[in-house]
Assembly symmetry: C2
Homo-oligomer: 225 residues x 2
DNA sequence: GTCTATAGTGGGATAGAC
DNA sequence: GTCTATCCCACTATAGAC
C-alpha cells in the first residue's frame, strides 16, 4: 500500500506530496468533478504527465483522500473513547467522529461516491485495496466494545464489531444523500439506531432470543463478502 | 416521466425508440463504459447531436434501462405471487424475480452502479425521478404482504413494505459486488434473511418485543428520506 | 534508471448552421 | 429536428532530460 508508484527517492516523495496536497485541497474546495487533473498539475507546478506518473489515475488521488480521512477518524476517536465506559456512548463516539471527519466533503459527496464505486477505482469499498481501511474502522469498534463495562454473551462481543462496520458504511451512504441542514437527519438516524441497540442488546440474554439476534448479526457480517 | 425531451411527433418517437433500443442492447452486450454515445448514434443511424437532442446525457439512456427492468420485474412477480399464500414464500418471489431480472447485467454492474449514484444521474436511487420506480417495488411488496394468509399486527403490516424496499436495494447492492458463480452468495443471503424473518415476525406478538421490532422497522423506513 | 514534457487518443457534451 | 464542427475532459505514448 504505497501512495505512489515511485517512492524511491526523496525528491520523488516531495513531488508526490506536493501533488497530493494540491489535489486534496482542490477536492475539499471544488469537489471531484470540478477538480481537473490539468488544474492539479498546474497548481502543483508539474506537467500532466508527471502527475500521472506518480498517480496512475484521478481515482488514485481519491484513495489518498480516503486514507487521510481514515487516519483522522482514528485520531479523533481515541480521545472520544476515553470519555465513557458505557457501551452505547462509546459506539456513539466512533460513529460521530466518523461523520465529523466526513462533513467537509458533504457538498460533493455524491461525486466522490460515484468515483468510489466505479470498477476502475481502487477505493471501491468491496475491493481488496480498501480492506485495510475498513480494518481500521473495525478495530475502532472492537476497542469500543472491549473497553465497555457492559457484559454481553461472548459470541455477541465477537460478532458485533464486524456488523457495526456495515452499519457505519450504510450510515455514510445515507449521509451522502442527506440534504437536511448540517445533515441532521443522519445524526437522528444514528440516535435512533443507538437507542434501539440499547434496548435490543440486553435481550440477547433471553434464551429464546439469543439465536435470532445472533443470526441477525451473522447475516449483517455476511454482507461483507 | 417522459422518456425523451421531445415526444411531440410520431417521427420523433420512432427516432427515440430506435436510439433507445440500440443503446439498451449495447448496454446489455458491452456494459456502460464500453458503450460510447458515438457508437450508439452510428448504429442507430443518427448523429451524435440528434442523440443528445433526444437524450440529454448518456445517463438518461441508463434511466431507460432502469425503467425497463422495473416493468419486467412487475410482470415477472405477478405470476410468482399467485403460487403461494405463505408470507415468506411470497416475499421470496418478489425478491427472487427482482434478482432474476438483474442477472443479464451483472458482468457490468459496478459500471451501472457508478452511473446511477452520480449526481448528474437521473437514476440516483435517492433522487425524485426514481421515486416512481421504487413505488413499483413497494407496491409489489405490499401485494405480497396483503395477499398472505399470515396475520400480523396492523402497524407491522403497514410498515413492512417500506422496510422491504430498503432490504431490496441493499440486496441489489450486495449483488453488484457478488463474485460467486451465478451470484449464489446473494441467493444465500436472501435465504438467510427470509429464514430470520420467519423466526422474527411471529415474535412481534410478544408485548415486550413489539416496540423494539416496530422501532427497527421505522428506522429502516426512515432511511428512505 | 529516474523523472519530465509534449503530443495525441477517444470520450461526453455543446453551439450554431440549416 | 437534425447535422457538422468543436470544446474540454481523463488518460496514454513516447521521446528525451537528469
Amino acid at each position: 500500500m504505497f501512495s505512489s508508484s515511485a517512492p524511491k527517492t526523496a525528491k520523488s516523495e516531495r513531488t508526490s506530496a506536493r501533488i497530493r496536497d494540491t489535489a486534496l485541497r482542490s477536492f475539499r474546495e471544488r469537489g471531484y468533478d470540478a477538480t481537473t487533473v490539468r488544474a492539479i498539475a498546474a497548481e502543483a507546478g508539474v506537467s500532466v504527465g508527471v502527475l500521472n506518473y506518480h498517480f496512475p489515475s484521478k481515482n488514485h488521488l481519491v484513495q489518498e483522500l480516503y486514507v487521510q480521512v481514515q487516519e483522522a477518524h482514528r485520531q479523533a476517536a481515541a480521545p472520544a473513547l476515553a470519555a465513557s465506559d458505557d457501551l452505547i456512548d462509546r459506539l456513539r463516539a466512533v460513529f460521530a467522529t466518523g461523520l465529523d471527519g466526513l462533513s467537509p466533503y458533504h457538498a460533493h459527496a455524491p461525486e466522490f461516491l460515484a468515483a468510489a464505486v466505479s470498477p476502475r477505482s481502487p477505493v471501491n469499498p468491496f475491493a481488496e485495496d480498501s480492506a485495510p481501511a475498513l480494518a481500521i474502522v473495525e478495530s475502532l469498534f472492537r476497542e469500543a466494545v472491549d473497553g465497555a463495562d457492559t457484559t454481553l454473551p461472548d459470541e455477541l462481543t465477537a460478532a458485533l464489531p464486524r456488523a457495526l462496520v456495515v452499519g457505519h458504511l450504510l450510515l455514510a451512504l445515507f449521509w451522502v444523500y442527506d440534504r437536511s441542514p448540517q445533515q441532521r437527519k443522519t445524526r437522528l438516524l444514528l440516535d435512533h439506531g443507538l437507542r434501539l441497540l440499547r434496548t435490543a442488546l440486553p435481550l440477547a440474554r433471553i434464551p429464546l432470543l439469543r439465536r435470532p439476534l445472533q443470526d441477525l448479526l451473522a447475516l449483517i457480517a455476511d454482507a461483507r463478502g
